[in-house]
């Protein structure tokens, strides 16, 4: 047990009081329209004095606030690799598509990662893949050449997404902290299950699934891919024999229930950190909880903007950490 994070964990405990509970989310859903939802968020301290009253501006500012807190705590950012890799690979994907297709306005970049958008674009333009981290180089080169020669955007996405999952899994395996290992394992397993479900719905081949799915400890990728070939019932049957049995029930219920279960599974993985006082666990859990909170608010705002009924929005809402 290390006392290195005592200050940081106590500070995070204070910050957790401002996280949205299920009751607060219910009140947000109960707001009459989109504008009232934004007003509710501003009253809760979301956004900032110079932030416009727009969903993306407010949510973007909230994402920035998470990392501002982490930087203030002076924690080595390497500890958060598993959380930042998806954004880093997103930048790679966006840069490759921008360079290969010359479509500049379609893609957005994340700038709060080790290789921000402009730098990533320059690396891809120069085709100097050696400037990328070792775990990105092969995937970047393969995806770039694939998109350039075949124009197959989906294959390009599959190559990069698979590399992102592999990177998350390996970062988790090398982490000293159990929460990072568990988070990486759950993230990759849930992503594999999502790939199987979507591949089954779109009738993808076994080769496609094997290329898209990343190996992990709690899911047998080969069996999952074969189950997906045999139909949704076969996927559910396979999941019942794993620790993701609840995913099978959600899958049987509805597609939105399954999507919600995928995120809830991650929150369940980090929930024990509420009772931990001395490791980095509660800090990582707080970051994931805040990201989950922002995602949930985005779903609600999107529902309100499209005038969906409250019950329909509620079905899509994720479980809260607090």
């Amino acid at each position: 047990m290390s006392e290195q994070y005592t200050y940081a964990v106590a500070r995070i405990r204070s910050l957790e009081t401002a996280l949205f509970s299920n009751a607060v989310i219910d009140r947000l859903i109960a707001c009459s329209d989109y504008e009232q939802c934004l007003q509710f968020l501003v009253e809760k301290g979301w956004g900032g004095a110079d932030i416009p009253m727009e969903a993306e501006a407010i949510l973007g500012r909230e994402e920035e606030k998470i990392w501002e807190v982490i930087k203030e705590l002076k924690i080595d950012m390497d500890k958060f690799d598993v959380l930042s890799y998806p954004k880093l690979f997103h930048n790679l994907k966006a840069a490759i598509k921008e360079v290969c297709t010359s479509e500049k306005s379609r893609h957005i970049f994340y700038d709060d990662v080790s290789i921000p958008g402009e730098e990533m674009r320059a690396i891809i333009q120069e085709k100097d893949f050696t400037k990328l981290p070792a775990f990105m180089q092969d995937a970047a080169k393969e995806a770039y050449e694939c998109l350039l020669h075949t124009g197959d955007g989906q294959l390009c996405d599959v190559i990069i997404d698979r590399a992102a999952l592999d990177a998350v899994y390996h970062a988790g395996q090398e982490a000293e902290d159990a929460i990072i290992r568990d988070y990486a394992e759950s993230t990759v397993a849930v992503a594999d299950i999502k790939i199987a479900v979507r591949s089954q719905r779109t009738a993808k081949s076994l080769e496609f699934m094997k290329r898209a799915m990343a190996e992990c400890g709690s899911v047998d990728v080969s069996r999952l891919a074969k189950a997906a070939l045999n139909g949704m019932d076969a996927i559910q049957e396979y999941l019942k024999d794993t620790v993701y049995a609840q995913g099978a029930e959600a899958l049987a219920e509805s597609p939105s229930s399954f999507e919600r279960w995928c995120d809830n599974r991650i929150i369940q993985t980090i929930s024990p950190q509420k009772y931990n006082a001395f490791t980095i666990g509660p800090i990582v859990a707080y970051v994931i909880a805040r990201q989950n909170e922002i995602k949930t608010v985005r779903i609600i705002l999107s529902g309100k903007l499209n005038e969906l009924p409250d019950d329909s929005i509620r079905e899509r809402v994720r479980e809260m950490y607090v």
Binding site: T6, A10, R11, T17
Partner: protein, 159 residues
């Protein structure tokens, strides 16, 4: 030779009770202070509550000081007239000091960690302060038991 070392053994006991119990308290108060600072950074209104939590592991150091003071008084060091202690008497005083020295060290460390956990409770549920304080206070029981035994033993030794 052995009989000449009586006063040295007695002084060693007094020193150990101060050093070990003080080390434990310094650790406990230090680690609880880090947690308290974390809470106050975000919510200064909780200063009073977390300060009490931080101070709880500090008592072992006081107990060590008390035992050392009684020891020094009994062997005449404080009055400037050191008692003529045999080696056996000196060792008895050393043994009498050990309970608070060792239990003080261990209990203060554990009390500090328990105080950190309780500060987490206060951070999230300040209305549960009373319950939160009980957890580290339970650890105090064993420091008090050790203090009692050390004082009784020191006072029971005849010169």
């Amino acid at each position: 030779m052995f009989d000449n070392l009586g006063i040295v053994f007695a002084l060693t006991g007094a020193a150990l009770s101060v050093i070990l119990a003080g080390m434990g308290s310094a650790y406990g108060v230090g680690v609880a202070g880090q947690a308290a600072a974390g809470v106050v950074t975000e919510d200064p209104s909780k200063f009073g509550k977390v300060l009490i939590m931080q101070l709880l592991p500090g008592t072992q150091g006081i107990y060590g000081l008390l035992v050392a003071f009684v020891t020094l008084n009994n062997i005449g060091i404080l009055s400037g007239k050191p008692a003529d202690l045999s080696g056996a008497q000196g060792l008895m005083i050393l043994a009498a000091c050990l309970p608070i020295a060792i239990v003080g060290l261990v209990s203060a460390r554990h009390q500090g960690k328990t105080a950190v956990a309780s500060i987490g409770i206060v951070a999230k549920k300040p209305d549960q302060f009373g319950k939160a304080m009980l957890f580290p206070a339970m650890v105090e029981t064993y420091a008090i038991l050790a203090l009692l035994i050390s004082i009784m033993a020191i006072n029971a030794i005849q010169f």
